[in-house]
Symmetry: C2
Subunit: 424 residues, 2 copies
Amino acid sequence: MSTQAPGRAPRLVMKFGGTSVADLDRIRNAAMRVKREVEKGYDVTVVVSAMAGETNKLVEFVRNASRPEGANHPGLFDSREYDAVVAAGEQVTSGLMALTLQEMGVPARSWMGWQVPVRTTDAHGAARITEIETTNLERKFGEGLHAVIAGFQGIAPDGRITTLGRGGSDTTAVAFAAALGAERCDIYTDVDGVYTTDPRIEPKARKLDRIAYEEMLELASLGAKVLQTRSVELAMRYKVRLQVLSSFEDVPGTLVCDEEEIMEQNVVSGIAYSRDEAKVTLVKVPDRPGIAASIFGPLARSGVNVDMIVQNIGADGMTDMTFSLGKDEIAKATAALEGEKAAIGWTDIVIDDTVAKVSVVGIGMRSHAGVASKMFNALAADGVNIKVITTSEIKVSVLIDRRYLELAVRSLHAAFGLEQEPAA
Amino acid sequence: MSTQAPGRAPRLVMKFGGTSVADLDRIRNAAMRVKREVEKGYDVTVVVSAMAGETNKLVEFVRNASRPEGANHPGLFDSREYDAVVAAGEQVTSGLMALTLQEMGVPARSWMGWQVPVRTTDAHGAARITEIETTNLERKFGEGLHAVIAGFQGIAPDGRITTLGRGGSDTTAVAFAAALGAERCDIYTDVDGVYTTDPRIEPKARKLDRIAYEEMLELASLGAKVLQTRSVELAMRYKVRLQVLSSFEDVPGTLVCDEEEIMEQNVVSGIAYSRDEAKVTLVKVPDRPGIAASIFGPLARSGVNVDMIVQNIGADGMTDMTFSLGKDEIAKATAALEGEKAAIGWTDIVIDDTVAKVSVVGIGMRSHAGVASKMFNALAADGVNIKVITTSEIKVSVLIDRRYLELAVRSLHAAFGLEQEPAA
């Protein structure tokens, strides 16, 4: 995909997260990488997070300022003020990055969200970008001035500062790459790419050269915390080529891109897992229309994120309803269900908080049958019992006993040959 | 002076310096004072500095980010980026103050300089306010919403963040008081008012109820560091009644106001001093037109602040030229003069770096003769030799041997009866 308009320099967006700009030495290290790209001829847009720890410090200030006198817990607070306070973190880093680049001889200036402007909705604390006006930025490119953007922030229709939610700087970076027609959006972080699975569990895990947007989305939401999910969705929608790479090592990263750009592809790209899951079974609920809504409505209103759902077909007009959720949401979920016991009509709640989820992910599944059965066979061969199964077009997930998690990950990694480079 | 327009609530500006908002407890303490004024019926505009130590930390970041690799000293830096970084300090405090007020039941919102907007010149790092647009603020007053302003900052004509220079939050406060027609501008700080002299030298020093703008200006520039000089100038020009008072004690402060508001007034209001002065004498310079310019021109260009100047009329077409300056500027001054030795034509430079300056200040001098001679008599009675004298309409300053500084201050404090309340 070529995005370069005639007569202008190619553009690159480079995003540095909190650990990559944690102090002035690291900012200098990041600036060196920017300089290298500038010397290749790019007009560079740098997007920076707050220095590591700074956002947490500011959030803590907000929570404590909002705590009623004598109370142990913070009260409700005005999210517009939260945004004003927290956005100061990125403001500082953007100025420091611009100064560091200047000191290295790279002409650069900082831009706060409101200066660009980065227009957002007024959903303070979790705003969405609605428009990035790039005219000013592009005029400055014409003057040879590279841009340093305070990530994570924008301006609401009423002129107040907004933030995009935790991890929002990834989204800022992708949105700028889309708006500027950048050749690539490089996300510098403390890992050097996306792996076939967690190398702490399977040392044979292999770094992927390329991964499709859809796969990355499944991996991100399954707990491989490399990129914020929203930023991947945005990249997929605008076909922004996203590269994940290390701020600290000079090694190639992983390119997240359209599947058409991926020539060599295993059927399965990676094994994801989520350790602290729980399984809840409502025993003997009436098997009638609307029963699912009567269960999952109250859970959603209580803010419980239900993941997998399985309904067993029962006899006598009764059925068992099983679902999974994060282990730390059990109390909230049971409270919500107890409150609706009469309306739902179950006889018992059975909770298993000793489960974990393992998933195989790959766009290759679309054209290859037998992935699920290969997965089940591999787990059976190692004596791993499967408790719940769900599937999507590019993913098969199973809930298993947590004790078998590492074994299962390694077993599946081997079964799908992930330690091997894919054949062309 | 009444500044209240018909049909609206009276307005008050309350400014809290860095030590008054140094942590969340102090912000809460300051907010309590705001609440008290709100309950009296004022529309309050709070102006806040950065939390104590925060500005220094940010300035240090800027200096280090601008230091060339391996160098010991910071390089030149882009003052626009300096402003963007440093202004983040007040941004944080303004949000936290608004949150704290809200928690106490006082409706309030934060305003950054660019949001108001506070328009300034583009002299980054030392910008001057050119206009404050109060329309938005006043509309919010109409909705019962009090304002918390991030002090010290504004927006340049090109839309970039500016700062007003150290201590600039005082100036922000006075400018808002003028623009809003506030009844008073209260400057909360870590001292409880303006004293007749430094209480650490003369324990009988008395807090002044009122002091005229002109007197405060002389005291401020003479080293009584209660208020930034520019803020007093601005208050005088716009007749803003300025009250200096303590954030930590509930005692009346000192009102800085028009002299017409001061009914009871000693001839002398206070004794100021400056400890680390030096006296430089150029011996035998030609007594010809332009000689002063040939000496003080090069000094000014070298950034030396010359204070008192005395020229002795000499014989043989020769004269001695004496001036005073801060002790730490001696090296810079002598270097500048040595470079011009041929052009000026002196024979010798005599430097005395063991002197201090003592001044008596009072608008009452305008109508009372004999202040200077009373001062000289008091010093003579205590055996203090006077080296240089200068006078202005409301001030007499003398340079003396530094060893006699404390003695001289106490002696003058007694001679002018400053421990006594003035008679009506």
